[in-house]
C-alpha cells in the first residue's frame, strides 16, 4: 500500500507520457487495457487507478492528441483511444523529454549511491 502510494506520486507527473507512449505502440487501447498493460510490464510495480487514468485520457482527448471510438462489446460500450498525428509527435517529444529527465535524475541519484558504497 505504501509502495503504491509512492509510486502514485511519481506516476502522476509521468502518466501522460506513459499513456502516449503506450498508445504509440498500439493501434488503439481502452482504459482497462492500459492499466493491465502497465501492471503486466512493470510486474505490478506501477498500478494505475482509473481515478487517475481517465481524467488524463479525457484531457489528452480535449487537447486533440487522442481520438476515441465507441464499440459495443458484451453489451457494454467500450471506448477505444488512439493517437492523432499531433498525438504521435507529442508522444515522441514527451518520451524523449522523460528519458532525459530520468537520465538527469539518475545522475542526481548516482553520486549518492556511489558515496554510500
Amino acid at each position: 500500500m505504501e509502495n503504491n502510494a509512492t509510486s502514485n506520486e511519481y506516476v502522476r507527473g509521468t502518466l501522460k507520457t506513459i499513456v502516449l507512449n503506450l498508445l504509440a505502440e498500439h493501434d488503439r487501447m481502452y482504459g482497462y487495457e492500459i492499466t493491465q498493460e502497465v501492471k503486466d510490464r512493470t510486474g505490478g510495480a506501477i498500478a494505475l487507478t482509473f481515478g487517475a487514468l481517465y481524467p488524463v485520457l479525457h484531457k489528452l482527448e480535449q487537447e486533440g492528441l487522442l481520438v476515441t471510438e465507441s464499440v459495443e462489446v458484451d453489451g457494454r460500450l467500450r471506448k477505444y483511444y488512439s493517437l492523432t498525428t499531433p498525438g504521435n509527435e507529442a508522444a515522441r517529444d514527451k518520451t524523449n523529454d522523460l528519458e532525459r529527465f530520468i537520465e538527469a535524475v539518475r545522475l542526481l541519484l548516482a553520486p549518492k549511491s556511489l558515496a554510500t558504497e
Partner: protein, 341 residues
C-alpha cells in the same frame, strides 16, 4: 474469460448512478469496472467478494473526483451562455435560441447573400440561358459557307436599283456605216424624172404614160354617170338588227344618187378592161350620223372597189337611225353599180 451476467452489470451500473457519477463518464467507468470484475472472477473469487473490492477501489469519493475533473475539463470549453444559464431553466427556449444564435446568423447571412446575388445575377443568367438557340443558329449558318455568300451578293444588287431611277429614254436608231453595195434601199421618194412620165399614186403601176389626170376618167365617167342612177339603197341593219327608224341620207335617195353620180369616177383600168358590176360597200352610220368603218364587202376589182369606198367616205353626215326615239349606230350596206355604156 468469464462474462459478467446482465444483472450483475446492472448492479454495478446502479451503484455508479447512485454515486452521482457524470452520465457522460458512466459507460466508460462501467466497462472498466466490469473488466476488472471479470478478471477477478476468473481468478476464482465469488461475485460478492469481487463486488466488495470494486466498491473499495471505486468509492464514492473517487467517483466524485472523477466527475468534478470532467466538469472542470468541460468548463474550459463552456461558453458564456452556459455560465449565464447555470442552474436555470434551459427548456424555456431562450437557452436554445442563444445557443443556436451564431448558427442562425451564419445561415441567414448565407441565405441573404445568396438571394441578393441571385437577384443581381438573374438578368445575366437569363441572358445567358435564352440566347443559346441564337448562338447555335449563327454557328449553323457559319458552317454553311455557300449559303453565306449568296445573301451578301443580294444586298449589293438591291441598293443599286433603288437609288438610281431609270431616266426616260427612247431607243435611238443605230446607224451602221456599210459599204454601198450592202446598203438596203428602202422607200425612196420618186425622182423628178420618174414624175415627168407618171403620176404620184398609192402604188407604182406600170400604166399608160402621160395620161392626163382628168381626161381619161372624164371620158369614161360620162357614160358611167348615167348608169349610176340605178342605185338602189339596200338597207341592212346588221348592228342592231331592225331599227324602228332607219338611217337616211340627208336629202333622201335622190340626193344620194346625185352625190354619187357627181363624185364617182369610173376607174380607167376598169373602163379599159370593160369591167361592169356592183360593188357592195358596208359602213356604219353612227348615232351622230357619221359614216365610219367603210369597206367593200364584195367587189368587181380593177379599182372599182376602192373608188366606191372612197366616195362613200366622202359622204356628209346622215340622219342617224333611231330606236325608241334614241339615235343609235346602224350597220348599213350600199350596193353601187358600175356600168359602161
Amino acid at each position: 474469460m468469464k462474462r459478467l451476467q446482465e444483472n450483475r452489470l446492472d448492479l454495478i451500473s446502479k451503484y455508479l448512478q447512485a454515486s452521482k457519477l457524470d452520465p457522460e463518464l458512466l459507460p466508460e467507468i462501467l466497462d472498466h469496472l466490469a473488466c476488472e470484475a471479470e478478471e477477478r472472477l476468473w481468478d476464482g473469487k465469488s461475485f460478492e467478494q469481487v463486488f466488495g473490492t470494486i466498491l473499495d477501489t471505486a468509492d464514492s469519493q473517487t467517483l466524485l473526483n472523477l466527475s468534478v475533473d470532467h466538469k472542470n475539463l468541460l468548463a474550459m470549453e463552456k461558453s458564456l451562455n452556459d455560465i449565464v444559464f447555470e442552474g436555470r431553466n434551459k427548456l424555456y427556449g431562450a437557452y436554445a435560441l442563444r445557443k443556436g444564435y451564431s448558427q442562425t446568423m451564419q445561415r441567414s447571412v448565407l441565405m441573404g447573400v445568396t438571394l441578393f446575388l441571385l437577384m443581381v445575377m438573374l438578368p445575366n443568367l437569363y441572358a445567358r440561358l435564352v440566347p443559346e438557340p441564337k448562338a447555335s443558329d449563327i454557328a449553323y449558318v457559319v458552317e454553311a459557307k455557300p449559303i453565306d455568300i449568296v445573301p451578301e451578293e443580294m444586298p449589293k444588287v438591291l441598293p443599286k436599283k433603288e437609288p438610281a431611277p431609270v431616266a426616260k429614254t427612247v431607243k435611238s436608231v443605230q446607224f451602221v456605216v456599210l459599204p454601198d453595195n450592202q446598203v438596203e434601199i428602202e422607200n425612196i421618194p420618186p425622182s423628178v424624172e420618174e414624175l415627168e412620165t407618171a403620176q404620184p399614186g398609192q402604188e407604182t403601176v406600170d400604166g399608160v404614160e402621160n395620161l392626163d389626170i382628168v381626161a381619161p376618167p372624164v371620158v369614161a365617167a360620162k357614160p358611167a354617170a348615167s348608169s349610176v342612177v340605178g342605185v338602189e339603197p339596200l338597207k341592212e341593219e346588221t348592228f342592231l338588227g331592225n331599227v324602228e327608224q332607219a338611217p337616211e341620207y340627208r336629202g333622201g335617195l335622190a340626193a344620194m344618187g346625185a352625190f354619187l353620180q357627181k363624185n364617182l369616177k369610173y376607174p380607167s383600168q376598169a373602163a379599159k378592161a370593160g369591167i361592169e358590176g356592183r360593188v357592195f360597200v358596208e359602213f356604219t352610220v353612227g348615232s351622230d350620223g357619221k359614216v365610219e368603218n367603210v369597206k367593200s364587202l364584195k367587189g368587181i376589182g380593177f379599182g372599182c372597189d376602192e373608188e366606191a369606198v372612197r366616195v362613200v367616205q366622202l359622204m356628209r353626215n346622215w340622219n342617224p337611225g333611231k330606236q325608241a326615239g334614241v339615235p343609235v349606230r346602224v350597220r348599213f350596206t350600199l350596193p353601187i353599180a358600175f356600168q359602161l355604156n
